[in-house]
Symmetry: C2
Subunit: 300 residues, 2 copies
């Protein structure tokens, strides 16, 4: 059972080494994280971007150039397209964003001709470890989907369930997070919760157990759930927290990272291959964890 981010990294080391293609790779923290993952045999890296700048960063950090395949491409949209083409064409490859706007790499990734698009919506999934909780918490979506409707939430759940499967949780408990635990017609999120639970019961949403509405307390604390008289057997024991809107998800992620001393790994799910799309503010370690998570998801 994978209970920590470290367990997740160990599992990523055990599987076959994947090929990570980094688009616009000339980013110091990205390259440091990629080098960490390469040293751990998690990835073989292919870097696409400004080769002069990449080699400059290598020199600064004593990274040995001979371990890397570097494709010199200074135009960012072109670098992204080349990276996506490589990933799309090759099994065991996945994609990471370097120093380029998210919109540019996503445009390339979702290119209809040779991109990574599927019929599914793409969404952001974080796997989080926090000292106050005894297992990993998955959270979606605090970064990409602003105000998903019911069917979009179904897809967001399905994407996150695949990530949990990749990490080793074969039947995750999915909690639809709201401000309250009861359906309230004035709160759309609670209506979505009831519908998503039904879709799970009806076999539309598979390979997981969906419950809700839950508030955070009764999603993650059995004691809090008992206190509120909630009898749902998965109450207090949720693996995947599905947020009502981007604001709640973003608030959760950042409160965990900045005020609860959490560690996290994140990927974009729902495309043919996972996309590692860390933000500049993420630490080197956080980027490394996300690369490890991406390797596991590529392994599916």
């Amino acid at each position: 059972m994978i209970k920590t981010i470290n367990d997740l990294v160990l599992k990523a080391k055990e599987i076959e080494t994947k090929t990570l293609v980094v688009a616009c790779a000339a980013d110091e923290h990205v390259l440091e994280a990629v080098e960490m993952a390469r040293q751990e045999d998690i990835v073989n890296p292919i870097l696409i971007g400004n080769k002069t700048e990449i080699l400059g960063i290598f020199k600064q950090h004593n990274i040995n150039e001979s371990n890397y395949e570097i494709i010199d491409e200074r135009d960012k949209p072109t670098a992204c397209l080349e990276a996506v083409k490589l990933v799309s064409a090759n099994n065991g490859y996945y994609l990471m964003k370097g120093l380029v706007d998210t919109s540019v790499i996503l445009k390339a990734a979702l290119n209809k001709e040779f991109g990574l698009r599927t019929s599914n919506r793409i969404s952001h999934v974080s796997v989080m470890e926090v000292p106050t909780h005894d297992k990993l918490l998955y959270m979606t979506d605090g970064a990409m989907n602003i105000a998903p409707n019911l069917d979009e939430k179904r897809q967001i759940i399905e994407n996150s369930v695949k990530i949990a499967h990749a990490v080793g949780n074969k039947l995750p408990n999915v909690g639809i997070i709201c401000a309250v635990e009861k359906v309230n017609p004035q709160m759309e999120a609670t209506l979505h919760a009831a519908d998503l639970v039904k879709m799970n019961e009806d076999g539309i949403i598979k390979d997981c157990i969906v419950g809700g509405p839950f508030a955070i307390d009764n999603a993650i604390s059995v004691e809090a759930a008992k206190h509120k008289g909630i009898t749902n057997p998965i109450a207090g024991n949720i693996d995947i927290l599905v947020m009502p809107r981007i604001e709640a998800g973003n608030v959760f992620y950042k409160t965990m990272m900045f005020l609860a001393s959490a560690k996290s790994a994140s990927v974009i799910a729902g495309a043919k291959k996972p996309i590692v799309l860390t933000s500049r503010a993420d630490s080197k370690e956080s980027k490394f964890y996300s690369i490890a998570l991406g390797a596991l998801v590529t392994n599916l």
Copy 2:
């Protein structure tokens, strides 16, 4: 400078003792918290409710009956109305909810004839202390206002600013929390943020400095704000976090309490007097802190 919940309690002990009227007082944890506040000279309590049950709880917890004025009233709506009448008529009195549904006490509190209603909207404000942050964080509203519009957010801010003033922060930094730091027409919360900042610049929202949109990281971490290139002088140094909707506020509150080891004190603001309206799940300590906060707010 009040930097911790303990400082807040010390300040409540220093001011003149207030009279706390507890409606439907026969609740074990409420009475324990009230007794703590009485022992600290923060409150003189008046209890309205089922006297037999109240005395039963007193016996169980060795609470001395002679320190209490008890009004025997077994009908809950009547007990609430009597409590509200007392508070409304007397300076230095404030209200606390005991064992009664929130809707019942709020109906009494907002009674037009003798209630505590003002022209302002009522809202929930929490004051939180967390080991990872060096000052108190105020948060509003994760409990009462579902999806406030712009003018309702103005009132929610004004209510919270009064609470900060009561605690001793005379010019709080107010951060309008969103999922991003830039105005995005697809995210209504960011448009509200821009409008609320302008209303503050124009002198409509007073006695505070409003900034935003902020995400949680750049609201509470100067380093994170610098990293994102945010030059707003209050970035990273927010006192009052104004949440876009009830879900984000509730997620923040519960993540802080259940995953970040926070302490909190909360009151309902915007009525003539503060209303202490803790939930059953709150600890005795949390209820005590809320009573102390209520005493400070009553002191305004």
